[in-house]
Amino acid sequence: MTHQILRRLLALLPVALSVATLTFALIHLVPGDPVSAMLGDYAAPADVVRMRHYLKLDLPLWKQYADFIFGLAHGDLGQSISQHAPVARLIREHYPATLELAGAGLFVAIIIAFPLGLIAGANAGGPGDAAAMGFAILGISVPHIYLGPLLMIVFSLDLGWLPLTGRGGLAHLVLPALTMGTALAAILARMLRQGLVRVSSADYMRTARSKGLSRSAALIHHGLRNALTPVITLLGLEAGALLTGSIVTEMIFSWPGLGRLLMSAINNRDYPLVEGCVLTFALSYVVVNMITDLLYGAVDPRIRLD
């Protein structure tokens, strides 16, 4: 297993490099002049020149790229213009909040999805199935940007149970995590149900039942593990979406994470900071995908990669 992890880590390097290159290309090659966007249309030409020099935009592109990659390898992402601080430090300060939020969202998604999927899968075709899947389709369709404010109205303003915004203890985490996790929970529950329905007609399930196991015991001990593989695939794909979904959620709940840092950087036209945040999100996504691949092997030894 350690050997495998090492190999995957090594395979991560070229992907990380291409993601970094794409980020660089996004910021530096897409038409639109960051300097004129920053200083406005009426900036004095001398100021424009000075700003270009400060941002090192007057260097040839290959040199900018080489500096970018070299800096990246040393954990140096340049200076933020609006916050007068190293980009790397700002990201280090804001990243834990986003990880906390995404982790909580994932947790919420899983604890909602499993009971729902199990109920639906065990009673396929019955009323439990219909109810669980009805809830699931609703969960998929309600957009984050509406669910967040809705939860705020109900639980903070009407009932007064939970704080409205900000980051603090567990209570602060509940609503943003629900906002982020609900759609994912719905998707996962549907996948789990499909998986359970698929395995319920398998030979090994009949064997388990003929051994005298009850329906639910057979489903949980023999069926669940086999129904889990597609769920994990999806979990990996969607965990990345969860990270970027945190951008919207952080804006709704004033959560002091990377997403809000990115949005403030965008609004201040702070391009070095935008670049750093985008890169951090993208690299996290790549790492999450790698972890998913490793989880596969743990759940289903048959597809352990050689």
Binding site: V15, A37, I140, I145, Y146, P149, T244, M263, F281
Partner: protein, 255 residues
């Protein structure tokens, strides 16, 4: 539900005569009435009119994005499959790199750099959407090419162009229809999220996303200002998801 959406985008603006941009400060936060069925927003603009015009914007943007994604992805994926060999490998490697990048983040970054505006919004969302189609088309073309009926046509001496249009395209239509329908729902959500973040349609243009964002500040006074666009987005997405699921089942049955 889709019919409702199409209807409201198509003829809605003619039925609801109120101007979605007309500011009427005497009607600020007006409750629903016969004059304003859903009431008015913080500037006294008719909410129903804004929802209906928002449907037009959402549907217009997402149709444009899906059409462009389909064209770009289909062309690139199809070219990769037909060319094969090194070119195929090179193209798909590029697709993989873009796919290693979370889609919504790519859209945010592009929208931020290009600046707000509808055309920039379409470009940003297309950049997020085309890779899925490229993969799908390549995979389908590769598998269709090996089917017996295509092989038979080739053996009979059909020119490549005839093969493509008469034998490959019809086989592609089904899976693409499913992906496109499901894709529109996703694009509507992404579009409203971008507008919500201030990176999409610029106020005062009525987009469900920026209406939600603006309504959030008045959530205590006028909850309908967030509820109406929220429900509109939810229903549209639900509609396209159900349609997509239905199409998928239909095609699954035929095979």
């Amino acid at each position: 539900m889709i019919a409702l959406l199409l209807l409201s985008a198509g003829i809605g603006p003619f039925v609801v005569r109120a101007n979605p941009l007309a500011v009427d400060l005497s009607q600020v936060f007006a409750a629903p009435s016969t004059a304003h069925w859903l009431g008015c927003d913080s500037l006294g603009r008719d909410l129903l009119a804004r929802i209906v015009w928002g449907a037009r914007l959402s549907l217009g943007v997402s149709t444009a994005v899906v059409a462009l994604s389909l064209a770009a992805g289909g062309l690139i994926g199809g070219a990769a499959a037909l060319a094969g060999g090194r070119i195929d490998g090179l193209i798909m490697r590029a697709v993989d790199i873009v796919m290693a990048f979370p889609g919504f983040l790519l859209a945010i970054a592009l929208a931020a750099i290009l600046g707000p505006g509808l055309i920039d919004l379409v470009i940003a969302l297309t950049a997020m959407g085309w890779t899925g189609y490229a993969r799908l088309v390549r995979g389908e073309v590769l598998s269709l090419r090996e089917r017996e009926y295509v092989e038979a046509a080739r053996a009979l001496g059909a020119p490549p162009r005839r093969l493509l249009f008469h034998h490959l395209m019809p086989g592609l239509a089904g899976p693409l229809a499913v992906q496109t329908t499901l894709g529109i729902g996703g694009i509507i959500v992404a579009e409203s999220a971008l507008s919500f973040l201030g990176l999409g349609a610029r106020p005062p243009a009525p987009s469900w996303g920026n209406m939600l964002d603006a309504g959030r500040a008045f959530i205590l006074v006028a909850p309908l200002l967030t509820t109406a666009p929220g429900v509109a987005i939810g229903l549209s997405v639900l509609g396209f998801n159900l349609l997509g699921d239905g199409l998928a089942q239909l095609i699954g049955q035929r095979h």
